[in-house]
Amino acid sequence: MSKDVLVIGGGPAGLEAANQLKILGYKAYIVEKSEKLGGHLAKWDRLFPESISASETLDKLLKPINDISVFLNSEIVSVNGTDGSFSVLLSNNITLSVSSIIVATGFSLFHAEKKEEYGYGIYDRVITSVDLENYFKKHSDNRIINPKKIGFVHCVGSRDEKVCNRQCSKVCCVTAIKQACEVKEIFPQSEVYCFYMDLRMYGRYYEDLYLEAQSKYGIRFIRGRVSEVSEDENGKLVVKAEDTLSSKPLKVTLDLLVLMVGMVKNDDNESISNLLNIRVGEDGFFKTANPILRSTEGDSQGIFFAGASTGPKTLPETINEAKATVLSMHNYLSKQV
């Protein structure tokens, strides 16, 4: 019974899973399709709710990886065998024979261009939450020049059947509020508006962050989805929404608009599910064996899930799930002889 395990995806879930595998004495292989490890975490500056540094967090995840074999810029081409012995062919022509596979492929960020009415990539001062995080890291972005009025649009590409994503991405509300506060730190004179449909402050300290956003930073909250964005003669952004709490249409001219892009399924989920002979749900994320009791297991033997590959999750949830995944995989393999 081989102790080799394949981890698909080098994001937080994959890294944590690999670490746990190592601790339990397994040999983990990480296959990462991009050119570096870290996934979306690498794009972030600080993490909600206690604004812990993303890079430090990533370093901690990467540290134990050094002696684990990682294949970058590579994907799986074919998988043969089932039940505790798979031979996997990678795009770099390496073949691995492993006893089980952990799918930690995560999620993709919604392409803001698809919400054409918001004009991302068309209006100069419309950016995404990712662009903003990048600005927080690099402190430079030619679209952000001392803005006086800033808007945040929640649920861009989430809870929106028109762009084929019905799910809530879970993290955007609190991220928006985190970023709103951070932006206010940098531009204390600015007026900041959040356009939300619901504020889903479900996690520990999230509500506190919300309260701080109100009372300390004076962020203005407008309940209503932005309907359309356009440029006025000075290149400022004219934003329209309904202020649903007063049931009146509302218009405001802004210098910067931040789109909170949601978590969507990866385009290659379909092909991976075919290779591994597992299923994807209606939302395009992978289907688990049992959503409550076996949420880390795939419905074909030896296949496991960790992280956002089975739907939007926060980082702590992802890390915890990676641990749980390895444990249930360990239990599974111990039964095989």
Binding site: E113, E116, E117, G119, G121, I122, Y123, D124, E228, S230, E231, D232, E233, G235, V238
Partner: protein, 338 residues
């Protein structure tokens, strides 16, 4: 404004428009509003570009106005549409082109409905047979007349006598494009350039030398809105819509407006007069209005037709300022010839 961003979107919304052999149907209200536009269209495609556009005096209204004014049910509407298709089939055409945006919308809506509810189509075929003993094939290609001009824009540009250039400054004319709501708002994939940033008119303007300006209320309805205009009690809303658009476009100092819908040019033109009378406010240079045109009229001007043959004298907002900018010769007296 990042132009290649728009181009990216345009590239995603390209619809197939046949080059030739169309069954052409006119619009009810354009006959009265801008009668010369359809005449010009046919003259351009038939005589200037030698293409095959067939039309028959037997076609009727598409029923759109009645439908959108809630006076006839969808089933009746579809039967009328089916009859038009029957006429096309009988005269051996496969490409259907409508002069009216509302009709275009109605036809698209009908075809889409039939696609999702085939049983509905069957019922309509039945109705039509009972009523007229006619049968029909669905058109292979459905186009709006502005799609055709868009397709031919470069051919027209090649034959241009005038370009959309301000001869006094040498600058491109600043053009506001207004798309009829029923062109692509309901079915974005059915319009050139989609719903948010339609390209059909922009393409013509670019080809003919003008410069398109985008303004906050660009997407806004012209104000016709059927019942909004037709019922006098609501007419204030119709007017307010148009007013909102003009307030929003004024800072961009447009030289002209180009439209692809029967109602829009009418209301953008007439309401400017009403606002001037009611509020004493005008939106063009030296307290004149902003001239409003149909795309056929603009094409006509570019190809060197006589303004008065294009029926520009029936516009309520004077077009002379634009003609002067384009350097078009015209005889003042002829404006009032019968």
């Amino acid at each position: 404004m990042i132009v290649n961003g728009k181009q990216k979107i345009w590239s995603e919304y390209q619809k197939e428009i046949p080059d030739d052999h169309y069954f052409y149907v006119r619009s009810c209200i354009r006959q009265n509003f801008f009668p010369a536009s359809e005449k010009t269209f046919l003259d351009i495609v038939r005589n200037k570009l030698n293409l095959d556009f067939f039309e028959t005096e037997h076609h009727t209204t598409c029923g759109g106005i009645a439908y959108h004014s809630d006076t006839i049910p969808q089933e009746t509407l579809m039967t009328i549409v089916a009859r038009q298709f029957a006429l096309m089939t009988e005269s051996g055409y496969k490409n259907y082109v409508a002069s009216c945006i509302t009709s275009f919308g109605i036809y698209t809506e009908t075809l889409e409905t039939w696609q999702h509810f085939p049983e509905f189509e069957e019922k309509i075929r039945e109705n039509l047979w009972k009523a007229t003993k006619r049968e029909f094939n669905k058109p292979e290609y459905l186009a709006h007349a502005s799609d055709v001009i868009y397709k031919l824009r470069d051919k027209i540009a090649a034959r241009a006598k005038h370009r959309l250039i301000n001869k006094f400054t040498g600058e491109p004319l600043r053009v506001v494009e207004h798309i009829g709501c029923h062109y692509s708002k309901m079915f974005p994939s059915k319009g050139v350039g989609g719903a948010e940033y339609p390209y059909v008119l922009t393409g013509m303007i670019e080809a003919w030398g003008g410069e398109i300006i985008d303004y906050p209320e660009r997407r806004h309805c012209c104000g016709f809105g059927f019942r909004q205009y037709l019922v006098q009690a609501n007419r204030g809303y119709s007017l307010s819509n148009t007013h909102k658009k003009f307030e929003s476009m004024q800072p961009f100092k447009p030289d002209m407006i180009i439209t692809n819908c029967p109602g829009c040019p009418y209301f953008l033109d007439r309401w400017q007069y009403v606002i001037a009378e009611m509020e004493g406010k005008t939106y063009g240079e030296n307290s004149q209005g902003i001239p409003v045109f149909t795309y056929e009229e603009v094409a006509g001007l570019v190809l060197g037709y006589d303004p008065w043959d294009l029926g520009l004298q029936v516009h309520q907002t004077d077009v002379e300022p634009l003609l002067d900018k384009m350097g078009i010769e015209y005889n003042k007296a002829d404006k009032y010839k019968i």
